[in-house]
């Protein structure tokens, strides 16, 4: 298994193309970060709505917690400017 992965890496590096293009890799990084942020917000959002159903006053807390992971994408954006 490990060898196969290694082999795959070698092939990818030799063949070049998208995976060795720095811009494409940066784009991939931002995309994956956005996916991660979205996944995180999915859980937080549903929990926040659940909490709000119990107590309306939690709206602001829910809002803050829900938007917290967005920063991940913005941090990933820095990568775009550095490569």
């Amino acid at each position: 298994m490990l060898e196969a992965t290694n082999e795959l890496g070698n092939v990818a590096l030799q063949a070049g193309g998208t995976l060795t293009d720095a811009n494409a890799a940066a784009a991939l990084a931002v995309g994956l970060a956005a996916l991660g942020a979205g996944y995180a917000e999915r859980g937080i959002g549903s929990a926040a709505v659940g909490a709000m159903a119990e107590d309306d006053d939690l709206f602001v807390n829910g809002l803050i917690l829900t938007v917290l992971p967005e920063t991940i994408v913005i941090l990933a954006l820095v990568v775009v400017f550095i490569v």
């Binding site: 602001v60 809002l63 803050i64 938007v67 917290l68 967005e70 920063t71 913005i74 820095v78 400017f81």
Partner: protein, 730 residues
């Protein structure tokens, strides 16, 4: 401005003979935030309600229950006027009788309708089956089962079952009646036993004389009649509501006021003949309150300012004694000033009329504590700025301001404050719209100015020609964040210094200030230039229109910055070791402000896309310049004929309309294009609130408040009532 209004703790001490008058005067003055007596004085017990409190409360309960039966919500008021006690009692009795009577009948009817419906639920499957009820049971040699199941499944199971000699299945739409003859020697209930494996919900056969379908018809008829009766009762109740709602609202208010007055002594400290009421008033209004009480009862009550709460934390050495304490205090009721508790004063935010509405945003996070800085002023200075920069469009700005003006002039309370916030946000949106080239709904209106104007700001950074601006706005966002966070950490430093000492302030505020500024000075220095992109430094010249050129701080400053970071980390490690885990947050939080530039581009891009669809656009200078909109069919043709000069992005919908030869397609395109433009801009406008608004609020709440602000203060609820439905009798 950064502090709430100063509060004074006062005590009102007097003879019980005048307790009524004192309560009346205090209530009228509406300024004393009464604190509950916590049995801290020896010989004083908590007071009891005044006589008659119970009757008032009973009436209040009656009024509220009537309001809830009639669905009175508060907007049915019919003019404020005084109401006297006798009239109240008489009318209340009358209304209660009528409403209770109607309500009882309504409940009865509802219960009867429910009975019919249950019966219907039970009978409907049998009506559907179409077999007389008396045929579904009472056999010697047959077993019968009725239930909801799929007939095929039942048949398949029974065909294989032992102990069933013969069977027949009658099926309605979703109900089956199964008749089976058990084999000789089979036990009773063999049919049910053999159906164990089938998905079947068994139904009990009801006992009724009539055939199921007739019975169902009769039940439906009865239900109909009952429903008619119920509708009549509802109409009568609505009529009563119409007539009595205004009275009920007045009565509720009157009784609430009475009840509050009667129950006031519950939070007083009392002896047999005297009482002490303690509470907070804004220091400014203290003398006014004293005058009001003295007016009412002369020298039978003593009003005294016990302390002026200072903004540093509780504890004796922090509170300022009031000058006239001394002798007068000893003369007061025995034990009256033994100790003051450590209760926190309620918070009245004091931000003036311009910044005042932004208290709404601060309170969304939490009302400031008395000992905390009130960040409202800083929110007022930064929120509209961030919002305006993110949207940056005269057209949208005017709409936001118009919505704000509407809310501000039409409503009271929260909506009015929201309106004021929207007005400020809209105003700054207009200002930044002008900055970005008099953008009106994404169109650079400066092109319409007479003469060949070259606008100094090329745009928001959406076109190939002004990509440098996008990067410059990124740097500007980050620098703004750096300044914003510095303010936060400085406030944290100051409040730690005031509440504790310099050492704490250095550990908790100073360490972060050193790390924050060290990190960013290093980033903007020439030390290790390799990975630092050029735009970090070029932006300064772009943003200042060439006035300033900045190549980064010298390498020596870079080293100094690294020393500052290390010093900050050391301070943090000594003072707050658990927070070492967050040592990167000064960098992360500042980068988080990059969202300002990101939203700017996203909103600008959306407006551009809408206009591009509707009106068509090309990029000048052979695809290297900026976006321009096309608008007319003639111009589109001209663009298409010069491909080397203009790169056509999209021809546009409305450009199919040719005034020279008005055709059906052209008119449809014109209407369609305008619909796309209007709907598109409405979407951008609405998304502007949710993205720019929420992102700006988030920067305030998470990045900014996180440094120094907790919230959680008590709100100031003065003893008294703002009459809404009743007029004062005087």
């Amino acid at each position: 401005m950064l502090r709430p209004e100063r509060m004074s703790k006062v005590s009102v001490t007097g003879s019980k003979r005048v307790i009524d008058d004192v309560i009346e005067a205090t209530y009228e003055h509406h300024s004393l935030h009464v604190t509950d007596y916590d049995e801290r004085y020896e010989g004083f017990s908590p007071g009891e309600s005044l006589d008659g409190a119970e009757t008032v409360n009973e009436k209040l309960v009656t009024v509220r229950s009537l309001e809830s039966i009639l669905d009175v919500e508060g907007d049915e008021a019919d003019g404020a006027r005084p109401i006297d006690d006798e009239a109240l009692e008489a009318e209340l009795a009358d209304v209660r009788e009528r409403v209770n009577d109607l309500n009882d009948r309504r409940d009865e009817l509802k219960a009867e309708i429910r009975d019919r419906e249950e019966e219907l639920d039970r009978m409907e499957p049998f009506a559907d089956l179409g077999i007389e009820l008396d045929l579904l049971g009472g056999y010697d040699s047959l077993e019968v089962v009725v239930g909801e199941a799929k007939p095929e499944a039942v048949e398949a199971t029974l065909a294989d079952a032992d102990g069933i000699e013969a069977f027949e299945v009658f099926a309605g739409s979703d109900i089956v009646a199964i008749f089976a003859r058990p084999a000789d020697g089979a036990e009773e209930g063999v049919l049910q036993d053999s159906l164990v494996g089938v998905d079947i919900a068994l139904l009990e056969v009801p006992e009724a004389e009539a055939s199921p379908s007739e019975y169902v018809a009769e039940l439906e008829r009865e239900r109909e009649e009952l429903q008619n009766d119920l509708d009549e009762i509802e109409a009568e109740l609505a009529a009563v509501k119409e007539e009595a709602a205004g009275f009920l609202l007045r009565a509720e208010e009157q009784l609430t006021i009475e009840a509050e007055k009667k129950q006031a002594p519950l939070s007083f400290a009392t002896t047999e003949n005297a009482f002490i009421a303690e509470g907070w008033v804004p220091t400014e209004t203290f003398s006014d309150l004293r005058a009001a009480i003295t007016d009412a009862v002369g020298d039978h009550a003593e009003v005294e300012e016990l302390e002026r709460a200072s903004f540093t934390p509780d504890g004796d050495h922090h509170t300022e004694a009031v000058a006239d304490g001394g002798a007068e205090r000893e003369a007061a009721t025995d034990g009256g000033h033994a100790t003051h508790g450590s209760d926190d004063p309620p918070v009245v935010q004091n931000n003036g009329s311009a910044a005042g509405p932004f208290e709404l945003l601060v309170q969304g996070f939490g009302r400031p504590k008395y000992s905390e800085f009130d960040p409202t002023l800083l929110v007022f200075l930064t929120f509209p700025l961030m919002f305006g920069f993110m949207i940056g469009d005269v057209g949208y700005g005017v709409l936001y301001a118009a919505i704000g003006a509407f809310l501000y002039s039409r409503y009271d309370g929260t909506f009015r404050e929201l309106g004021a916030v929207a007005l400020w946000a809209g105003g700054f949106t207009i200002l930044f719209g002008i900055y970005f080239g008099i953008d009106v709904f994404g169109y650079h209106a400066y092109q319409l100015l007479p003469g060949d104007v070259h606008w100094p700001v090329d745009g928001k950074g959406l076109s190939p020609a002004d990509i440098d601006w996008a990067l410059s706005f990124l740097v500007a966002s980050v620098l703004f964040g750096l300044a914003h966070l510095n303010v936060g950490h400085i406030l944290s430093f100051v409040s730690n210094y005031q509440q504790h000492d310099l050492k704490h302030a250095l550990y908790e505020g100073g360490s972060w200030l050193l790390i924050l500024n060290g990190a960013w000075v290093w980033i903007f220095s020439q030390h290790l230039p390799g990975p630092k992109p050029d735009f970090l430094f070029d932006s300064f010249s772009i943003l200042t229109f060439g006035a300033v050129s900045f190549a980064g701080f010298p390498v020596a400053v870079g080293y100094a910055a690294i020393v500052a970071i290390l010093l900050g980390i050391v301070l943090l490690a000594i003072g707050e070791p658990p927070e070492l885990a967050e040592v990167l947050s000064p960098i992360v939080n500042v980068i988080s402000y990059a969202r300002i530039m990101a939203v700017l581009l996203a909103k600008g891009g959306m407006a551009l896309a809408v206009n591009l669809l509707a009106f068509g656009a090309y990029i000048g200078e052979g695809g290297e310049g900026s976006f321009h909109f096309i608008f007319s069919a003639d111009y589109l043709e001209y663009i298409q004929n010069h491909p080397e000069e203009y790169e056509l992005v999209f021809a546009g919908i409305t450009t199919a309309f040719d005034p020279a030869s008005i055709g059906a397609v052209g008119v449809v395109a014109l209407v369609g294009g305008i619909v796309v433009a209007v709907v598109g801009h409405i979407v951008v406008l609405a998304l502007g609130v949710t993205s720019a608004g929420i992102q700006a609020v988030r920067l305030e709440y998470v990045e900014f408040f996180g440094n120094f602000y907790e919230g959680g203060g008590d709100s100031y609820l003065p003893f008294g009532y703002d009459r809404q439905y009743t007029a004062d009798e005087e």
